[in-house]
Structures are given as structure tokens and as C-alpha cells.
Symmetry: C2
């Protein structure tokens, strides 16, 4: 039987790869460098772009690949254990690596992916599947009465959740994405399930439920999981994400075995999700014991009756000054004494000045927080690092 | 805030798509045809390959695309509502459509995907997300004592499962994939969650739990969800899929609210999974009330002490003749009077003769079954159709 099945497998594989010769790409070398290869005998110029190249932006300047016998090749310097995204550019056309089935999507762009995870001291170790107990990852649809639609979220329940008795409850961590992303992003790009699995297995993080929401209030779910009958344009939502967030918390508290109280409730969000974190916590002072805006797009809603701003948006500092009632709401978050208020941003982040202004305001008002400044910019490499660090601080 | 977030979104999108001009591809036209486009000003020849082209194999012969102002284009004839997979071939290099973020994987190859789903009479309607209640799809890890590893499966629980009380139980349907696939295949290529959501919403199928297993006994999970510490070679498993299947059923019956008994238990599998269905049901006569080998790779294990076959594998007919004890096990499946034994295969399937032999043996022994012969070959288009039909027959 086995041999027969092998033949079928072989037949299928042959059918689908047609005449394309099998080459190995990417190949991890003993020194930790990676060799990328593409078979393209007719190409004139092939370059490689990827976030392992020296640049802290989302996509570095491409490097030239060198051709030999129709196969183009590039070998990196030895790399730190990380999750890397890359693509080839063949005579001006960006394409994924046909030899690599590991593909991920960031907003409107797909990337080929490789995780370098052999060295336990490197962050990449935590982003990969290791031989440890694994939590369950579920795609769950919940009703949002505030938004009037049924919406999808990703829920991570830690290993043992199903088997544990009805009396075993878990703390809950709400994890929010940035603009353009959706409820898949922290799973696929942020590697949250792997980070939690690996930290929990080592006793570095507490077993917890992680709720990864969709932060686009007009959206039911990520693209192509969106129903065709709800082609609502962005902006058409009747309420903001912050104002509809109770729907999510109500669903989670009703359908999962959740420990309540601020000591058992955490939130973090990146970029737009950092702004949501800022606004959701202001709407629910005392609800969250752990609060972390990562690389946050912080904005203060205009005061009721305020003159509409012509031509430019208020800075965070101006916004807080222009809306004293909202500033009081933010102060109330701190008055409830969260156990940890964790601000993180990269030195090269285009939102850096917003965090500078927020820190100045917090300092001026004597509101305590932890500040984590990393290298690099507004990218998933930083957000995975922030999550890995923050998750170890929760519920302790 | 909204405008500010839009600016961030725009900045991110610009970063990640670099200088690539935005073109629309694929574009569904009013007549149901699809236009595919690729910007490739330097390319000499661009072809398009896809399962909408006239061929019933996995990948049809490519068609020429025509260039104008650097954009290559091809428009199909009006197409039936279906899920279609395609790729471009640019000067000999196969690539995905960079304008389409919907990507799926079959074994070792990725495809761009489009689902044509506007016409409710076409199968494509059932493969797409519609505005109906949705079940939860979970990636669950279970312990397999027989195989000695922890393994991943996909579990669909129907809408309402979480909210229903502890006394509400559901029938269970085990759904098995083919060689080279894994626990993602029936979700991503087979669209089982959408088919079930849509059929249940219309009252055409009963709410049920669907358990989508990984049929490769040496594998923990699909590639790149496999832990690095378990690089077990295929074939290294201590037991076959059929012999380890009780581990899965035990886990499901312990952790889900499952109605027991043959009237509430179904199984189906495609290709290798059809062979597994044949063997699993032979191991558990009376367990399954609904049994469906789709395009099945049917094989009879060699009788204990049998001479090893030199050079060629026994046909199904020869296998049944050579191992009368196993033939009796298969007869016992029918003696338990399953409510439905559903055989389906395409006229052009390379396994067609195996099903012919099986039917001849069933007929000769007076064992009742339903036979569904479709057009086409060994491909997901057929398997989605078979699932859509079979799911409506279950638990009634």
C-alpha cells in the first residue's frame, strides 16, 4: 500500500510542478546564512528583496542575484534567528519563491517566508513550532450588536484548555493589529500562537487565552473570508472599533472560561491597534491591568462641538490639550493603577514623535509607565519582539 | 482619527508594493468571464495556466496572454461558478498573480485563487463565504498514543455549538485527505467549512462536527507547522493511519459534544483517504453509518505470512482474492448495514479501474452501495462536488 501511495503522490507532484526542475530554496547553511535560488534561464536580471537585508524598513533595497546554468543565486551573511520575508524581482516583476511553499500575506502583498529557529537564544526560536504542547487556534464568528454585523476573530486557547474542568479559568489577553491588517495578522505575521506555546512551555508566560480581533469596524473578516453580501466600504461602520469593543469582551466572557478583573485582563495593539488600545482603555478605566500600545498611532477624538480642523490633523499633544475631558479619561486609566503600562517603539518608527509627545504628557502628569525603545522601525520584527517580552510580564 | 489612519494605511501599502503599478486581476466580468492581467513590460512571452481552461487534469495546457502597454491580458469564456486555481508563466517561470492576495497550496505548489460565486445554482456559491451563520474552525493538537506523537487536526463545529448547552450534542463526520495533502487541504482546497455553513444555513445539511485529520502517520502537522525536532521521514511511523485512527475518535468523543452510534457517525476520504476510509471502516465494522470513498486508492493489506510480491502491486481484485480474511472484514462493514455507502469517481480518474474492480466485487457479493460517476479526473473540483452532495445525505 505504502509504495502504491508513494506512486500516487509522485504522480500528483509531477502533474502540478510541470517541467520545473527541483531546486532547493531557501537553503539554510551551517553558518546561519541563507542561500536563495531561482531557476530562470531566460531572465536578464534577477534581484532579491527581503527583510534580512540591511534596512529597517518594511522592504529593503534589493540585491543582485548571480546566474549560473540558468539558476540565479544569492547567499546572505550569517543571520540571527528570525522570521524573514522575501521575494524575487525578475526583470522588474516581483514574484514569490516557487520552491518555497511557506507564503504569508501582509495587507495587499504576499511574501515567501523562512524562519531561522535553531538557536534558542535568538527570537526566531520562539516564532517556530517547537516540540512543546500546543494551544488551539480557532477562527470564531461573533455577533457585534454595535456594528450590526457578524465578525471573525482568532482565539488562542492554551494547551490543556479543553481537558481542564469547568472550574479552571484563564486570564485573557486582547491583541490588536494595525491598519491594513486583520484577524489573521498576529497569527501569521506576528506568530502569536508559537510565541505563547513556547513561552508557556518554558514557564516564562502564564497559560492565557489570546483574543486576536479584527480592528476594521466595517469589515466582517479578512479579505476573501468576507461575505460577498456585505461589501461595506471602509468608513461605513456605525461605530468605531473602540466603541464596539465591548461586544468582543462580552462574547469572550460568555463563551470562554475567563478569569475576570484587571489582574487577569491584558491588552496590546500595534500602530492603529495601539491607538485602539489607547481609546479602548480610556473607555474602560480599571478594566485592563496590563496595557501596551506598540508603535502606536495615538489620536484623541475631537471634543464635542469642537471646530473642525482645516487641512491638518492635531498632534497627540494638541489633541490632549484641545479635549480636556478626554485627557481626564486617559488619566482615569492610570488612576485605576494598572499593573503594567508598557510603551514600546523603534527609534526609526515614523510614529516615534507621537510616543515622545505621549511620554512628555504622561511625565508632566506624573502617570507611571514603562518605556521600551528598540532599534528599527514600524515593522513586524519589532512587534514580535515586543509581544515576546510583554507576554512574559502578564498576570504575574 | 480615521483620516490619519488612512494615511498610515496608505503609507504601509506604498512601502510594501514598491513601484508596482496597481492593475486589477483577476476581474470578473458581467458575463461571468474572467480577465487576468499581469504587468510585465520586459517579458517576451506570458502564458496563463488554470483549471478553468478546457482540461480535466490538475493543470491544463497554458494559453497565450496578449501584451498591450506592458500589461499582459487574457479573458476566459463565460465560466460556471466555481473555485478556480491559476498561475502565470513568464518566460518559462511559473509565478502567482501579484495582484491577487488569495493564494492556496496543493501539496508542494501554490496557486492564485478566485471563486466565482454569484450564481446560487452553481457550485461556486457553496465554496464562498456567504451572509449566513458561520461555524468555528479550529486547529487542534491531540495526542496519538499509537503513533507516539502529538498531531494537528482541523475541527469544524457548526454555528451555535459554543452557545448550545452541555446537553446539545452533534453528529460527527470524519473527512480524510489524499496523498501529499494534510489537515489544511479540505479547509483550503476543499472549502469544507463554507460548504457546511452554506448547506446548514439552507437546511440542506444537518448541523454536524467535521473532523479533518492529517492522514500522514509520520507527520505531526502540515509542513512548516511541523516541529523542527520531529523531522521523521515518511514511512517511519510505527502504525498505519487506519490502525491509529482510534486515537482520533477517542479524542473527539472525549473533547466534543458528540452523538454516538452509527446513525451519527460518518466518514469520507479522497484518493489515499478513500483507501484509509476503506481500511478504517474494515477495522471498525458498525462504527460508521455513512461511508464514502471518493476517487479512492483502494488497497488490501497483504495476508499475514503471504509471499512478498515481486515487482508489482496486486490490483484490488487480486488483493481481495489473496487475503480472504480481509475480504471478510470488508463484508462485515456491510453486514452492519451502514445507512449509506457512497462511491464516487470521475470517468477520467487514473484510479477509475480500481473502483470498477471494487464495484464488481461488491456486486458479486451482493453488498449494496450507491455509485456516483462524474465527469473529469482526480481533482479538487470533483471532490468539492462529492462533498457538497454527500454532506446533504448525512444523519437523516
Amino acid at each position: 500500500m505504502k509504495r502504491f501511495l508513494f506512486l500516487i503522490l509522485f504522480a500528483c507532484a509531477t502533474l502540478s510542478t510541470a517541467a520545473q526542475q527541483r531546486i532547493v530554496s531557501p537553503q539554510i547553511n551551517p553558518d546561519g546564512s541563507i542561500t536563495f535560488r531561482l531557476q530562470a534561464p531566460k531572465a536578464v536580471r534577477v534581484t532579491l528583496t527581503g527583510d534580512f537585508l540591511p534596512a529597517d524598513g518594511s522592504e529593503a533595497a534589493p540585491v543582485e542575484m548571480v546566474e549560473k546554468d540558468g539558476v540565479w543565486e544569492y547567499t546572505t551573511v550569517p543571520l540571527k534567528g528570525e522570521m524573514y520575508c522575501y521575494a524575487f524581482v525578475v526583470d522588474g516583476i516581483r514574484m514569490l519563491d516557487p520552491s518555497n511553499i511557506h507564503v504569508t500575506r501582509d495587507t495587499n502583498t504576499c511574501f515567501s517566508v523562512i524562519i531561522l529557529s535553531r538557536d534558542k537564544d535568538d527570537p526566531g526560536y520562539y516564532y517556530d513550532i517547537q516540540d512543546v504542547p500546543h494551544g488551539t487556534v480557532s477562527k470564531v464568528w461573533y455577533e457585534s450588536p454595535t456594528l450590526g454585523i457578524v465578525r471573525r476573530m482568532t482565539v488562542y486557547t492554551p494547551y490543556g484548555y479543553e481537558k481542564a474542568g469547568n472550574k479552571t479559568k484563564y486570564p485573557v489577553f486582547y491583541l490588536l493589529h494595525g491598519a491594513g491588517n486583520d484577524e489573521n495578522a498576529w497569527e501569521e505575521l506576528g506568530k502569536a500562537p508559537q510565541i505563547l506555546d513556547n513561552l508557556i512551555a518554558e514557564g516564562k508566560a502564564k497559560p492565557m487565552i489570546v483574543v486576536i480581533t479584527n480592528g476594521n469596524p466595517a469589515q466582517e473578516a479578512s479579505p476573501f473570508v468576507q461575505s460577498q453580501q456585505h461589501p461595506k466600504a471602509p468608513g461605513a461602520a456605525p461605530a468605531s472599533m473602540a466603541d464596539s469593543f465591548s461586544d468582543i469582551m462580552n462574547y469572550v466572557e460568555k463563551n470562554y472560561r475567563v478569569l475576570k478583573g484587571a489582574a487577569n485582563t491584558a491588552i496590546a495593539g500595534l500602530s492603529m491597534g495601539g491607538g485602539h488600545t489607547f481609546q479602548i482603555t480610556a473607555n474602560h478605566p480599571g478594566k485592563f491591568g496590563y496595557i501596551a500600545p506598540f508603535s502606536a498611532a495615538l489620536g484623541v477624538p475631537a471634543a464635542p462641538g469642537a471646530q473642525p480642523q482645516q487641512g491638518r490633523r492635531l498632534s497627540l499633544a494638541e489633541g490632549l490639550a484641545a479635549n480636556p475631558a478626554y485627557a481626564e479619561k486617559v488619566k482615569a486609566v492610570f488612576a485605576a493603577k494598572p499593573r503594567l503600562y508598557y510603551l514600546a517603539i523603534g527609534k526609526d518608527d515614523f510614529l516615534y514623535q507621537t510616543t515622545v509627545q505621549y511620554r512628555a504628557w504622561l511625565d508632566a502628569n506624573g502617570l507611571p509607565y514603562e518605556y521600551h525603545e528598540s532599534t528599527g522601525g514600524h515593522n513586524w520584527r519589532n512587534w514580535r519582539l515586543y509581544l515576546t517580552d510583554y507576554a512574559q510580564r502578564l498576570f504575574k
